[in-house]
């Protein structure tokens, strides 16, 4: 493994669904000679893209799990994570962004900045990942890369600046004008591997000159030297402009936009040059860890391979030979035979095999130095664990994990399927923190929960394919919640003093809604009316009630409980008695606090041809959707709406038939909101029926 960290790039490729991320990665691997033949995502040869190594990914033409690979381009080593585009797999995107130093934001020249691009951009912003943009599909009918540049400015607030001009568009797209060199670049040969540089076609010279001025103007804001050169009307060199652009990209102040068509093999080599020239190397990115010994004080990490090790496990995979753990080393180096500590468990681990992944193929290596991504075999850990050298007590900031919003019951077909299912679930829950599973104690059903229909569907399919577990899935269920809407007081006495050892405890106080946390407990008891040793028991009693609401048995959130008085008995008071008193007090106060049911509401964005705008809005309205707005984008119209998840099951089929398959939609969790009375009544009825059945 080469050790010059300045020539390393940890790169992510993120975008909206079907923007061509996987195709782009395929081309990058081909041009960097990592693969010798290109296959298309849904190509006629049936091979499928190299990075979509999962059988299911190749069949559906979507990327589910982010695959990691590396390649070399002009002396630089590039580690690439190809991330999924579907919003249900957002956790994969989040994870890869956490460990990356830079990203390519792929945008479709026809669709422009779409809803998922906005989500991805927010994620990049959260992790401060510098990015460059690539406007793909310039060969498609309706392509307009400059509209995309404008959208980057308007919709995402990027200071976007075009680095290239397309030569021809749609079917005439033949190459690009490099605005730095002021040359036309064509991509010849069967696979676009031969680059031909010529003078700019006459018709484009004027436009190119004006776009170059725009580019230089934008870049000059970040370099005094360049600004001076421009003011003095001196000739400015490529290196000077690149240095200014790089400074701007690293601080996320500017987004250079490149153009091309991955499918038609145009523009990829120039994009790779830009990755080398503009995106940061690991040592240019500031990473911090939290010191567990100093109250989680942030500690800056240095990319020095000689420093003590700090590494983060960001992805797990179950392989034939055991668990494969993907790691990013932030500080120090991880070598074969080293002893490292898992900060979460405190367990010491001896490092066995170290590998570097190339989709589903691997290459054995001796060490992973700081700034690199690699994988470790045979280590039992969870995703998000930090590994350090013995003696250190640092942890990387934990990753944001959204809560599951949808669940369904699964039933194994036979005993064999049951065993395989539990193996599969064990692996999936370790791999993906947004995928959860539990057994309903009343119905004895196994419930799986996740971020969307497709998310769960893919896991069920994987159980079948990878573990041979035949399972039948029930109808999807929405994760409802209960909460209170007003303050209510309680004063409850738990007293059992007839026969046997007695129980005595009285708890007084109030409960009120809070937006700060799921549950807050405030002890304002003075004068020892409840002895200090029983306060914890009171808190536990209240907390236990949160798991299952008295109204509908949904989990309760957003409740603050304050206790300010009570009573105890010298002999009969105990932890148990106060827990029971707290439970009683909760029941007493809860119904007075006007409890309501909340449901997950999704932000739904539909992109449809304008002709179908009316029917689409009607269909959303029928689903209790609140349309926030409709944005006219020429031939297309984007409708933004808030719809309860419970109403969205099967919407893709409805939308397809409404719009002759020409519309698409994305959906992501927005917030929990109160369900209308009529729906709440229905839910109550259903719950009562289910209770009867169980009884």
């Amino acid at each position: 493994m080469k050790k010059n960290i300045r020539n390393v790039r940890n790169l992510g490729i993120s975008a909206h669904i079907d923007s061509g991320k996987t195709t782009l990665t395929e081309r990058i691997l081909f041009y960097t000679k990592r693969i010798h033949a290109m296959h298309d995502v849904k190509g006629k040869d049936g091979v499928g893209a190299f990075m979509d190594s999962m059988e299911l990914e190749r069949e559906r033409g979507i990327t589910i799990a982010s695959a990691a690979t590396f390649c070399e381009w002009k002396g630089h080593e590039i580690n690439i994570i190809d991330t999924p585009g579907h919003v249900d797999f957002t956790i994969e995107v989040e994870r890869s962004l956490r460990v990356l130093d830079g990203a390519i934001l792929v945008l479709c020249a026809v669709g422009g900045v779409q809803s998922q691009s906005i989500t991805v951009d927010q994620q990049m912003r959260r992790y401060k990942v510098p990015c460059i943009a690539f406007v793909n599909k310039c060969d498609r009918s309706g392509a307009n890369p400059f509209r995309v540049v404008d959208q980057l400015k308007q919709k995402l607030g990027h200071q976007a600046v075009a680095m290239q001009l397309p030569i021809g568009l749609e079917s005439d797209f033949s190459g690009v004008v490099d605005l730095l060199e002021m040359k036309a670049v064509y991509f010849d040969g069967e696979k676009g591997e031969t680059i031909r540089v010529e003078e700019i076609p006459e018709g484009l010279q004027e436009l190119a000159a004006s776009k170059r001025v725009e580019l230089l103007d934008a870049a000059s804001m970040f370099s005094d030297e360049l600004m001076e050169a421009l003011l003095e009307e001196r000739e400015v060199g490529r290196e000077l402009v690149l240095a200014a652009l790089r400074t701007a990209v690293l601080t996320r102040s500017l987004t250079p936009v490149f153009m091309g068509s991955a499918y038609k093999n145009k523009g990829i080599q120039l994009l790779l040059d830009a990755v080398n020239d503009l995106l940061p190397c690991p040592s240019e990115v500031e990473n911090t860890a939290l010191d567990m010994d100093r109250d989680e004080a942030p500690v800056a990490l240095s990319a020095d391979p000689a420093a003590p090790l700090v590494a983060l496990a960001f992805k797990l995979e179950d392989r034939t030979y055991g668990q494969l753990t993907y790691l990013r080393v932030y500080q120090g180096a991880l070598g074969k035979g080293d002893t490292i500590v898992n900060v979460r468990t405190g367990r010491k681990i001896k490092v066995g095999r170290l590998v570097r992944m190339h989709a589903d193929q691997m290459e054995e290596i001796d060490a992973i130095p700081a700034g690199y991504i690699g994988a470790l075999f045979g280590v039992d850990c969870a995703s998000g664990d930090t590994f350090v050298a013995p003696g250190l007590s640092l942890t990387m900031t934990s990753m944001y994990v959204p809560r599951p919003v949808i669940s369904l019951a699964i039933h194994p077909k036979d005993h064999k399927a049951e065993i395989n299912m539990s193996k599969a679930l064990n692996r999936f829950t370790k791999e993906d923190p947004t995928f959860k599973t539990h057994v309903n104690p009343e119905t004895n059903e196994t419930i799986i929960s996740g971020m969307g229909e497709l998310h769960l569907e893919v896991y069920i399919e994987r159980m079948h394919r990878e573990y041979g577990a035949e399972v039948a899935a029930g109808a999807p269920r929405v994760a409802y919640r209960e909460t209170i809407t007003q303050r209510a007081e309680f004063d409850y006495l738990h007293k059992k003093q007839t026969g046997g050892s007695g129980q005595y405890g009285r708890v007084c106080g109030w409960m009120e809604p809070t937006a700060e946390a799921d549950f807050e407990f405030d002890n304002q008891v003075v004068g020892g009316s409840i002895p200090t040793q029983f306060i914890a028991a009171c808190e536990k009693g209240f907390r236990d009630c949160m798991a299952k609401g008295p109204k509908m048995e949904f989990p309760i959130t957003g409740v603050k409980v304050v206790i300010n008085d009570g009573a105890s008995h010298a002999v009969d008071s105990s932890d148990m008695a106060f827990q029971a008193a707290a439970r009683g007090a909760f029941q007493q106060g809860y119904f007075k606090a006007k409890p309501v049911i909340q449901e997950p509401v999704m932000k739904v964005v539909v992109e449809t041809p304008t002709a179908f705008q009316g029917p689409v809005m009607g269909s959303l309205n029928q689903r209790r959707g609140m349309i926030v707005g409709a944005q006219d984008e020429g031939a297309l119209c984007v409708i933004e709406c808030q719809v309860p998840l419970a109403e969205m099951f099967g919407y893709s089929t409805v939308l397809r038939s409404l719009t002759q398959g020409q519309a698409q939609f994305t959906m992501e969790f927005l917030a929990y909101k109160q369900v209308p009375h009529s729906i709440a009544e229905e839910l109550e009825k259903k719950a009562a029926e289910n209770k009867k059945k169980v009884a």
Binding site: Q154, G614, V628, A630, D632, G634
Partner: protein, 264 residues
Amino acid sequence: MRNDSVQISTSDAAWSSPAEVIFIKEKFFAMLKTDLTLRNPLRCLGGSSEEILAPGQFGGILARAGVGKTALMVQIALNAMLNERNVLHVSLNQPVNKAGLWYQDIFNHIAAGLGGSQSGQVWESLLPHRFIMTFRTDSFSVPRLEERLGDLIEQRIFVPRMLIVDGLSFDEPVREMLSELKKIARLHGLHVWFSIRTHRHEDPGPGGVPKQLADVDDLFAVALQLMPVGEEIHVVPLKGVTLTPEHSRLVLDPTTMLVKNTAS
């Protein structure tokens, strides 16, 4: 007064039937409504917005770029939404999110003045009364708007009472377009407010009316101009309304963009 009657009716309900208690949300809602009505710039001009513009009439807010046209229109819209009237906000060249942010911002300023932790709930209750529609300037036309409006009304998705048109350029000839819009406004009984951008370098026409309004003056029932004077932005009525003596100095607070009266 409108807000008084609301308070009386809710408290009446509370007295007559103990089951119908006033929830905090409703109480806060009424308080907020009172406050907003007090802040309502048009109230200072002699009435509530509905009284100033009859259905089918046009109102214009004139100012140079960046002075606060959108902020003032959003206050008018929020006032209508608080009175449970639906507002269709048509924005040219601004994405839905950006237009939505104006509402959120102005509402937050108003709610901050009132205090209270229930503002989130009130905000949620206002949202169904707003529909943002954005067009690209080059593709905006009245027939197109009419078609969209038809979709909304026919399917009972959203029936607007007020139309806000933000970003229409009055530098081009717009008489024909406005006349068509007038027909639609009359047909659906809409109160329509436009933002009209004026320019620093242009002198106003006779009677101090900016050039942009002069050609279509007859179509507008009300016109208000925002004039930066020193560090203040004054709200100056140009047409259709007069300032009452106790509200003779209306200004737009540059930090919150809310209208306030500095005469008293």
